[in-house]
């Protein structure tokens, strides 16, 4: 979904929207072992930026804390501080 379409939808419905920013999500279990796809901190930062620029009321790091790596948590936090204030 493009960021612009999300913004148009929000303006029309005037609801609070909290964008999920998914990173470091494991996938593809084989033999009981999951492959962990390490996200790029720059991608995480740009995703948070895009969410706030599209009018998000907030963001939620997804899927869950124990999958997340510190560099991506730091990128998420830095972007939230920079772009979340508007």
């Amino acid at each position: 979904m493009r960021a612009g379409s999300s913004l148009r939808s929000r303006r029309r419905h005037r609801r609070r929207v909290y964008d999920g920013i998914a990173f470091d999500v494991p996938f593809g279990a084989q033999g009981g072992e999951w492959t962990h796809f390490a996200s790029d901190p720059q991608d995480v930062r740009q995703s948070v930026r895009a969410a706030f620029e599209a009018g998000a009321t907030g963001v939620v790091a997804s899927r869950e804390y124990d999958e997340m790596r510190i560099p991506n948590l730091e990128a998420f936090g830095a972007a939230a501080r920079e772009y979340g204030r508007g």
């Binding site: 998000a56 009321t57 907030g58 790091a61 869950e64 804390y65 124990d66 948590l73 936090g77 939230a80």
Partner: protein, 53 residues
């Protein structure tokens, strides 16, 4: 001019994360590194054997 309210900066986590790391260290990491001001703690999930309690 109205001031924009503070945005919700959240994360979902399971209680096992808090037990593993300790409440204070876990919340400190989230607040300092990820700027988190809202925590969504789940108590049930779809993975077998991962329910709290």
């Amino acid at each position: 001019m109205s001031e924009r309210p503070e945005p919700l900066i959240g994360v979902q986590l399971g209680p096992h994360s808090v037990f593993d790391e300790g409440v204070e260290p876990c919340l400190d990491i989230l607040a300092k590194k990820a700027a988190v001001n809202a925590v969504f703690v789940y108590s049930q999930t779809y993975y077998p054997g991962c329910c709290a309690g």
